[in-house]
Symmetry: C2
Subunit: 245 residues, 2 copies
DNA sequence: GGTACAACCTCACGTCGCGTGAGGTTCAAG
DNA sequence: CTTGAACCTCACGCGACGTGAGGTTGTACC
């Protein structure tokens, strides 16, 4: 009754691995059972099981099967170095995961703040985010996020709704040929500046990044119904605001 | 000179993708160029490029190519739901990554505290960690980690060196047949209890977990040179400590 | 027109850690 | 002697391409 040797099924049951996995380990030479029955059934000895437990330990630490084989193969390796290398990799992956979560989280919040969005809006939003990540520093992005949090979803919704109206009004004046220094345009320009300030927080670095974005990626502005002509018109209106009446 | 259409190489260069990747997208039907030259070279139109930019956006959010194809295929999907599902997945993966990093970090610290370790020590340490994670609650693990931090590497080193000596001394007394109530054994038992207390912090929950671990996994104790007989001897010595002289 | 050489094309296999059959043999119990 | 569970050996599939192999096309220069 000396059942010290186990068959695959038994071993699989005890370790939680699949039979196929054990077959695989055998195939790649990671864990070859030291005995077989006459008919070819695998028999795992106590030693094999000990080796397997080492394998599982290393697997839990995220090592690949190849690395595990190598590690168990030679006894002269530096454990600390191996672990530190693996830790470094894990840290990098952790940072990536964090970034991904942040992105998804921001996006989810933006979507919750918006009206039910069309597929096109959705993709536009993602692209806008990508642009942001390209032109703003991580610190600036954090600041923006903080301001968004502080404003709350409803306020964001309002601003998002106001922009198209404001742009449309401005375009109307431009097409009517209204003087940028005139009172109605001054009012629009003032509001325009307020909204931009609300976004940049009056931070000059932030304003610069926003400008760069618009210069390098004109299609972003165009999607919002703005074009170079309108931008120039707004620019003139802003200049008039600064100049005394 | 209307070069609005791009060849693969050009497009690859501009997007940072590989030519092979674009071929792949073509193969699986994710992005089929809308035109070809007479000789079969792929020509990507502005529309194709727009689609590709959508693809890359979604890819950046961690969606699989299949999911991307599906998402771009129908316009009636709920953007928020899709993103929230993806976010959930990402959060789970993040938690796993965190755990992995913690494990590796603890291990690295343990290894730094220890003398240059043999392969066997290394594997034993990992297995001990696995046991710990199995028998202690996450809060208990945190507490242990905090205590380790507070002790510092050198103190840990000392304790790790003292245990084998203490166990050896105790075994010696047992084999000599010394009375567990005798003075030398009382001294050893006192130190034994101190070391255990230093580990458990006097926390009864922690002591219980430790006991469970030793009961369920006797091989852990055995590796340290302890066996049931020694455990029983120590138990008697402890009882004598509590009883008045 | 010829001759490089870069850029393009289409197969087609390799990666990693197994899952999932297919199709056949062996074991243990009734 | 049968039955059903457990075992065996192939061998393909996944996901997102990398990496050649081997051949054609495009472009520049002589």
């Amino acid at each position: 009754m000396q059942h010290t040797e186990l068959k695959v099924g038994e071993l699989a049951r005890r370790t939680g691995l699949s039979v196929r996995a054990l077959h695989h380990y055998d195939e790649i030479g990671l864990l070859k059972p030291s005995a077989h029955t006459a008919s070819g059934h695998r028999l795992y000895t106590a030693e094999d099981i000990a080796r397997l437990s080492h394998i599982l330990s290393l697997k839990q630490l995220g090592f690949s099967l190849e690395e595990i084989a190598e590690t168990l193969g030679r006894a002269d390796f530096s454990a600390l170095r191996v672990v530190e290398l693996r830790l470094q990799r894990a840290r990098e992956q952790l940072a990536e995961q964090r970034q991904l979560c942040d992105r998804l989280d921001s996006l989810a919040r933006l979507l919750r703040a918006a009206e039910p969005v069309s597929a096109d809006d959705f993709l536009q939003t993602i692209e806008a985010m990508t642009m942001f990540e390209k032109y703003y520093t991580p610190e600036q992005l954090k600041e923006l996020e903080a301001r968004r949090q502080a404003m709350g979803d409803d306020a964001i919704k309002e601003v998002q709704a106001e922009w198209p109206r404001l742009i449309a009004s401005m375009r109307e004046e431009m097409e009517k040929g209204t003087d940028p220094a005139s009172e109605p345009v001054r009012a629009l320009a003032t509001r325009w500046r307020e909204l931009v300030r609300a976004f940049t927080g009056g931070n000059p670095g932030m304003e610069k990044s926003l400008q760069t974005l618009h210069q390098q990626e004109p299609q972003v502005a165009q999607r919002q119904g703005r074009d170079p002509k309108l931008t120039e018109y707004v620019g003139r209106a802003m200049a008039c605001l600064d100049a005394p009446k």
